[in-house]
């Protein structure tokens, strides 16, 4: 299990690094919000979801999309504005979808998809269908009223919704303390009547464990669950660069989090605890690199959408 998760962590990290590297060529002409440093949240949660479970996300969604099984080539192609993109070029980085793997949609109005996830759970309850509907949000999203409306309804109706709050301590350049009073985010969800847990979001095994418990409870009718997972974003809020020189982080904060790299943590455990050989890891990494290189090339070579297509899909039929 951890080896699979490490593979997923590594894959997400490298995909984002590749995006960052190529972003400067100005061929991916859309804003990108990278998750480098936060990968364990996506991987730990998504390994506990089935393909049929629904997942929603927001502006920082690449990791969630990939962890849920989203098509890699379609992601790259979407960033390149190609016809083979997961939204056929309609969306760019901030709009991702892959219904085949239960990735129902990511969009960049903060908290906008939160009630949608609740609505899917409501539909499934009405349809007598089992399944978990999950949504990733940031710490900033907790300030949006619609999240509270969603938590209230999920709790009142006892819907199978998993809210995952990826608390990276910042919204753009603004620290949590500049936006919220000194109290725990998960305690707020608990006060809404949800079952909650908080954990180190850089430890993929811990995230997995908590997610497994939450998802298991929901599959047994346990009502909505809320996970707060603490982590840190390494790069700038939007864009491919490091921005620590801007000085908005606490001194030493980024360095400390880099020390706690989710990949390094997992790799170390694999080698020390599970006695996985370096050769295994090297091979795994090479497979990932090959996959990424092939997907990137396919996306780069894919055709652009026909300009006339922009008129389609406003309404059905």
């Amino acid at each position: 299990m951890l080896l699979q998760q490490y593979r997923s962590l590594y894959r997400i990290r490298r995909v984002e690094e590749v995006i960052a590297a190529h972003y400067r060529e100005q061929q991916m002409r859309c804003p990108v919000h990278l998750s480098i440093g936060q990968e364990a949240v996506a991987v730990g949660v998504c390994t506990q979801l089935h393909r049929e479970d629904a997942l929603f996300s927001g502006h920082r969604a690449h990791a969630h999309y990939l962890a849920k099984g989203g098509d890699l080539q379609a992601l790259f192609a979407e960033l390149y504005g190609k016809a083979t993109g997961c939204c056929s070029g309609r969306g760019g980085s901030m709009h991702l979808i892959d219904l085949a793997v239960g990735f129902w949609g990511a969009t960049p109005i903060v908290a906008g998809t939160v009630p949608l996830a609740v609505g899917v759970a409501l539909a499934w309850q009405l349809q007598g269908r089992s399944g978990v509907s999950a949504v990733f949000i940031g710490d900033g999203a907790m300030e949006e009223g619609v999240v509270h409306e969603s938590l209230n309804y999920a709790a009142q109706q006892q819907l199978a919704v998993l809210f995952i709050c990826e608390n990276n301590g910042y919204a753009v350049y603004t620290r949590l303390a500049g936006r919220q009073p000194p109290r725990q985010i998960h305690a707020l969800a608990a006060a809404h009547g949800l079952t909650v847990a908080v954990a180190d979001g850089n430890d993929v095994e811990l995230v997995s464990q908590h997610s497994a418990a939450a998802v298991a409870a929901m599959r047994q009718g346990g009502g909505p669950q809320f996970l707060e997972l603490t982590t840190h974003r390494w790069l700038e809020h939007c864009g491919p660069d490091d921005d620590d020189h801007l000085g908005y982080r606490q001194p030493g904060e980024l360095a400390a989090w880099r020390e706690r790299c989710p990949l390094a943590l997992a790799a170390e455990r694999l080698q020390v605890r599970d006695a996985v050989s370096e050769a295994t890891l090297v091979q795994l990494r090479q497979q990932v690199e090959d996959e990424i290189a092939a997907a990137l090339e396919a996306a780069q070579n894919a055709p652009e959408p026909d300009g006339c297509e922009r008129l389609e899909h406003l309404y059905g039929e």
Partner: protein, 358 residues
Amino acid sequence: MASERQLSYAEALREAFVIALSRDPRVFLIGEGVPDPKGIFATTSGLAEQFGAQRVRDMPLSENGMTGICIGAALAGMRPVLMHQRLDFALLSLDQIINHAAKWRYMFAGRAHVPLVIRLIIGRGWGQGPQHAQALVALFAQIPGLKVVTPATPYDARALMLAAIADADPTIYIEHRWLHNIRDTVPEAVAIEPLQGGRVARQGQDITVVTYSYMLLEVHAAAAALAVAGVAVEVIDLRVIRPLDVALIVASVTKCGHLLVVDTGHGDFGVAAEVIAAVTIAAFTALQSAPARLGLPPHPCPTAPALSRDYYPDAAAVVTAIAQQLVLPQAVQQQALSLLQRGDHPHDTPYRGFNGPF
């Protein structure tokens, strides 16, 4: 004869819900007060008993969140009908309506879509006042990805609700509180019509009067009075505001040569502006006089009867506007106006003097 059956607008709407709930297990109704003793002005009364509390649902006071929840349910295969007792309350949910419902199909290139109906009621009278009487139809109609319907007759109340529920895209269904008691023929037989198109509600050849929702009643009364005085008004009921049926209006204006738009909302920056602009662009040479419009004045609705008395244009105002535009003789205008006496019926409760046919 079955086709002679008379229903009130509220009854016809309720019948639409019965039909939709019976036929389609994906349909559910939701809104503050939907299953309560008043049943949204009796339009949902008894439905919870008949179809169960799961499908005829109350909800918390969370307009934006519940809109998003209905979008999610629609994505997952349901057909929610979300209701607000006043259009004003839906202003809390414009984020979910504009940023999400209206764009989901487009931004995901058709991979998913939102078959959602949002039903809004425009309040009027009995002190509804600044925050309970807004008729902001163009606010919704200007958003690509939404459809907007404004049924004015009992027949359309049912037909357009059924069309909206059957439609695969988000539809804003806007009704007017003062239409609820209007009665007209609604045949028992139901044909689900596509959600498009306006309707020539009365034929004439002297002037085209375009209107929608409640003001159709006042325009009908004005047209009837003017007919006696020898002026043949062609009345167009838009029914659907987005997509707008410009061709129908252009055809009428081409015949009549004169255009008046009577808006149920504000006169400026609203539906009337779009109709006049679209028609003038498309049929400039057909116009024999400047087009005109009549709508609510550009300020909120004040509550006191003394203040709201002149806020709402009525049939007399329509007659006056037409007389001005066609430069009718004074005597003709006076004759038409004299037929419109409302007696001492209070101005702030629905006028029941006109009941169709529409």
